[in-house]
Amino acid sequence: MDSTKKQHAAGADGETRRDFLYLTAGAMGAVAAGTAVWPLVDSMSPAADTLALASTEVDVTSIQAGQTITVVWRGKPVFVHRRSAEEIAEVRAEAWQELRDPQSDQSRVKSGHDEWLVLVGVCTHLGCIPMGSKTADVKGDYNGWFCPCHGSHYDKSGRIRKGPAPKNLAVPPYEFVSDTLIRIG
């Protein structure tokens, strides 16, 4: 009895060595639980084959000025739009500093390939696909793209001008393999 009392002898604040054991055991338990849960959680992240989805190559030879084609990259549509000289002049004449997501048209294309606009065709609001790539499509107030879901209007540089979307249509990572071949991704 006496010896147990001594073993559990309380420190100045009534803490015992047992409290310390409880704490360490609890901490170890939490670490173990976390370790056990992580594989379950991470199994829901994109799998290796999904991540390995190859980049997409697009041959742009047949696209006429003013035309847009849609290609699939990582399950998402990518718009490849060829612009006429007037179109480029028009979007560049505007004061972009005042826009919601201020970006110059120059910073959204590859210099030297200014006629090519490459955009991820996913509305930055909630992920619908904006209309405007087909000739007959509604193109919105800024004659670029229009998202029917909640009414976002994008201009000819894919920049958000009106509606709920917060950002410009994203420009995917891409490069010109040759003058007529683009590799996206």
Binding site: M44, T50, R100, P102, L126, C149
Partner: protein, 486 residues
């Protein structure tokens, strides 16, 4: 639970034998036989039982549907078409399951309104109420994932729009959505996990319903008078009085349900739900199922970004509120300090997020004007927060409304405000389905404003200031009951 009584309780020896070892019959008699129900409970008290019945109907029809359903993007739509055309009674199972979800929500919405009207969330039923809100949230998740399974245009695009909401959270948003999707777009991994969860969650709901009923049987039911039963005179045994009443109500409810299944099975569904999903073409008008519309409308009501300019204005307003609070709480030093602390916390928080937003924004051409336009909380994130917040408000409702009077019967002003809340909610349900332009946007914004004002301003105010009518001493003395000669 104590040990079973020594004396024989049941005539049937088999029942007696089982009950001595597992007192399941004793429990059934206690909870569903002699269980005391307030004798004035009206038909609004029948909707909980209806909701439970719908849950069971959903589980039974769902399990059979799952036997013919294929959760793969290339086959899901066709497997559901096969259920409709080739599987014996497949059309019936699917129509029951489709419309069953709607009727489940109808029952639960009425059940919740009943609680709001008669103050069923108040002491001592807070936990019972919160568990109910959890069930509601789980139901929404389940129905949302179920709607994805037929892999129609509405399925795929509904999932895209709703999961994209999570991308609005700062910093973690994009990673979170990729994790939810299991890829970079809504695709096969998404459909697969939705099927697994859609199968699982109803059984989780069943478990939570068990806790809900457990809590109910600790506190007992509330009633239209909102006063707790005081003596045996105030109550009636559940069986046969309420088994028969609830049973009758259930038959009427199921008749309407089956009438819809047989005669108007598609009345509640959008036609784009019968076209296969095309990940390259968004349908012109995406509408969620009707039971999500009010919340969807709240989401869409937020159209202005919260920018640095607005933050500065709000800070100015808060600074002015300090002297106002000083004057207002002049007599009460404790309350004044509380008000100061609250205002100080708001101001501090506002300054913090403003600085954070400015620090994390990269400007191509920095200038004072450009900084004023930096967005702190984008409209879409406001919408997401408000949508979740509108439901979370229900969780804290027992502490928002601390009026000692439960039933709206004796709260004349609360009663009217609740009616306005209902009208706002229905308005939101209507505007949620409209294109986001013109007057529906404004109507939706007004209704959203009322929804939040109701909970955050009106209820706390009424709890303190409302002149309530005299509450009866007991259920038996309630004039409503007395007149019926009970």
């Amino acid at each position: 639970m104590s040990r079973p009584a020594q004396t024989e309780k049941f005539q049937n020896p088999v029942v007696q034998w089982i009950d001595e070892r597992l007192p399941i019959f004793t429990m059934l008699i206690k909870e569903y036989g002699v269980f005391p129900m307030p004798k004035n409970a009206n038909y609004l008290w029948s909707f909980g039982g209806m909701a439970l019945t719908m849950l069971i109907i959903m589980i039974v029809s769902g399990v059979v549907l799952a036997m013919s359903y294929t959760p793969h993007v290339d086959m899901a739509f066709n497997s559901v078409e096969r259920i409709m055309r080739d599987v014996n009674y497949g059309w019936l199972l699917r129509y029951i399951h489709m419309n069953g979800a709607s009727f489940f929500f109808i029952a639960v919405y009425i059940h919740i309104m009943r609680g709001l009207y008669f103050g069923s969330y108040k002491k001592p039923r807070e936990i019972l109420w919160i568990v109910g809100v959890v069930i509601f949230l789980l139901m929404m998740a389940t129905a949302f994932m179920g709607y994805a399974l037929p892999w129609s245009q509405m399925s795929g695009w509904g999932v895209t729009v709703i999961t994209s909401l999570f991308a609005k959270f700062p910093l973690i948003g994009d990673g979170l959505v990729t994790w939810l999707w299991g890829g970079f777009s809504v695709d096969n991994p998404t459909l697969n996990r939705f099927f697994a969860l859609h199968f699982l969650l109803p059984f989780v709901i069943l478990g939570v319903v068990f806790i809900h009923v457990w809590a109910l049987h600790i506190t007992g039911s509330n009633n239209p008078a909102g006063v707790e039963p005081k003596s045996e005179k105030d109550t009636l045994p559940f069986h046969p009085y309420f088994t028969s009443k609830d049973g009758f109500a259930l038959v009427v409810f199921l008749t309407v349900f089956l009438g819809t299944v047989f005669f108007a099975p598609l009345a509640l569904t959008e036609f784009d739900h019968f076209k296969a999903y095309d990940s390259m073409v968004t349908p012109p008008h995406i509408v969620p199922e009707w039971y999500f519309l009010p919340f969807y409308a709240i989401l869409k009501s937020f159209v202005y970004d919260f920018t640095v300019v607005l933050a500065l204005l709000a800070m100015g307003g808060l600074l002015l509120a300090f002297p106002a609070a000083y004057v207002f709480f002049k007599g009460d030093k404790k309350k004044r300090d509380m008000a100061f602390m609250g205002l100080g916390a708001l101001l501090g928080g506002l300054v913090l997020i403003t600085l954070l937003a400015i620090a994390t924004t990269h400007l191509e051409q920095p200038s004072a004007a450009a900084y004023l336009k930096v967005v702190i909380i984008p409209a879409a994130l406001q919408g997401v927060l408000a949508m979740f917040g509108s439901i979370l408000l229900l969780v804290v409702l027992p502490w928002i409304d601390c009026s000692p009077v439960k039933s709206a019967r004796y709260r004349p002003i609360y009663k009217k405000c609740l009616l306005v809340l209902l009208i706002s909610f229905i308005t939101l349900g209507y505007t949620g389905a409209q294109l986001p332009e013109g007057w529906p946007v404004i109507a939706g914004q007004v209704a959203t404003l009322y929804y939040f004002a109701h909970f955050l301003v009106i209820l706390p105010y009424l709890a303190r200031k409302e002149k309530t009518l005299p509450v009866p001493n007991s259920i038996s003395e309630d004039p409503c009951c007395a007149s019926k000669g009970n």
